[in-house]
Symmetry: C3
Subunit: 255 residues, 3 copies
């Protein structure tokens, strides 16, 4: 249904891997590389030029690279200069600004708005409607639930930006605000609707506006009495330990 | 202006009612039925396939049905398997995921993001920018103001989802969070910016984060001293009682 | 890349200034005027008709005017009846409803949703994802950070709307809610995540939900000990005082 080569425009300089499919009404601009088997659905823009393109006759389009076996859903916009790993998946209407770097096996939900120079590790998922400020750093296996906002300006407006960072396995509850410069450590759980104004330590469960430490995530139990966190012991859909279990997978990793 | 049959694509299997208009750049995929007089504006996608379409060579497109006299504004995406009643109206850039069921006379505002298997009754309106999680149930005459979030996961991430539900005539104030599994009863008023973490009983007025019961909605008065709630007594624009008044209309309904 | 005249549709009645560029897949509807040097990027809709267009055979398209040297990024929708000044810039997927008036040198970020009859002064910037209710009035040099919501209905649902207003130089922190009818005076700073339920006086720094006055903005200091507010003394990127300083620029203004 989506791949009729209707109103598709691919710049001659774009390098398309084997089995790449481009949906109707999509455009691939100059200096874009797309890995084998990746699907760009309809009405997408890959290699969107930065503002300089409109003003500078000497504008030079940076390399945009998307890895293998990705699926970019319709109406998404990926700016030039983005480098994105394999198995990348998006919802609809995602916008990723220039020079953002994203690892492998990441997912970005519908209407997410990632600013420029964001860096995201591997296996990190963002649900719908998140805003991620310039320079924010999300590490591996982070999950950001819907409608969070990551900020970068302590004294708005200013030119000096302080991006936030989030460690491996942290979970950022829906509709949370992460204030500029805040560092959230590994395995932290941020409750929905929190405003995180100071750093959170490893395993902290924080909640509120401003968010305060409520307990240690390892004390949170499921209705059946088992420990809920760290979550990798009980959740493996789409995770690299889905066939062998988290402990065995962890033992196999490089130290 | 919008209906020039320019870059329109309609699958041969789609069944189009009398007087249906399809805007430029819109696509109607397979197995879609659109009722008489419905307008699909420009740049829409009706019958968007689920993720299975990209992976499964035996993908089967579910029936998508939109009733009579609807108006779907531009850039909206309605997934396959949705069944939607008559007089349906949307803003722009709405996304409704697979198998969501919506009754008659409903309105979904700009940039709303409804997940799969949501069920919505009749005459329910969602303003702009709402996120509605999988399985959420909104009954009749509910109004959800802008930028609310309905959640479904108590111990994120997990596979066991607990959807929220909202009863007839309830009003959900802007920028509210409805936590997983919460049940909001008929005629409840949720103040703007609330986080609703526990069930709200019929006629409760709740406010805050976490939301607490402030009073009974029937005690809220307008500046002129009249009671403000239940609101159907004083508001009838677009409602079925607009010509006869709420009390008379209510008497006419089936018991 | 963007300007190949591919699938572009311009109504014959539209008046296009010198050097105007229209991106691929964009449409310019009837009775639109676009000033010299303005760029409309790809997939935009300028002169979007109001709901009346779908129902009324005598629908008359109001004049839509966009000034000189603007840049409207892709997938934006500007309704008929909007009058917008020079050097207007938008992000992607902006929607501006009918009859909204915007001065010169304004910027509206990605996915902002401005309702009808909003009025915005000069040099006012809205970051990403803001919702601005019908009739809201934002004056000059206001900056609204991401994901704020401006409301207009004190007793939802009702027909009597109370729009909010924001004075010159005020800064509205990210994810804030401005309640209906609230008046925010000049130079006010609203902290991120606030819910502003009552008027804020000149130079107030307000924070919280509900927001309370914390101090006078003139007492907020930067890490180097200098005063942070009023901000025009320390920030000039894109501002008319960028070459001469704020004090000298202020002296040159009409009293």
């Amino acid at each position: 249904m989506k791949f009729n080569n209707r109103n598709v425009w691919i710049d001659p300089s774009a390098k398309m891997g084997t089995g790449v499919r481009i949906g109707d009404n999509s455009v691939i601009y100059a200096n874009v590389e797309i890995g084998d088997g990746t699907v760009i659905a309809n009405d997408c823009v890959i290699g969107e030029p930065s503002g300089d393109y409109y003003e500078n006759p000497d504008y030079k389009q940076e390399l945009t690279r998307i890895g293998h076996n990705g699926l970019i859903r319709s109406h998404s916009i990926i700016y030039a200069g983005c480098v994105i790993g394999d198995q990348f998946q998006t919802g609809h209407r995602v916008c990723v600004r220039e020079r953002t770097k994203i690892g492998h096996d990441c997912r970005i939900g519908t209407v997410c708005d990632l600013q420029n120079d964001v860096s995201i590790g591997n296996n990190t998922w963002l649900h719908s409607g998140n805003f991620v400020a310039q320079g924010t750093n999300l590490r591996d296996f982070v999950i950001v639930y819907p409608h969070c906002v990551f900020l970068d300006d302590k004294y708005p407006p200013s030119e000096k930006l302080h991006a936030a960072s989030v460690g491996d396995y942290a979970q950022i509850g829906a509709r949370s605000i992460i204030m500029p410069g805040v560092s959230i450590d590994q395995h932290v759980l941020v409750a929905s609707g929190s405003t995180v104004v100071r750093d959170a330590d490893k395993y902290d469960f924080v909640r509120g506006a401003p968010a305060r430490r409520v307990s240690d995530v390892r004390k949170i139990t499921l209705p059946n009495g088992e420990g809920a966190y760290p979550w990798p012991h009980r959740f493996d859909r789409g995770m690299p330990w889905s066939e062998i279990g988290y402990d065995q997978w962890l033992n196999q990793q490089e130290p």
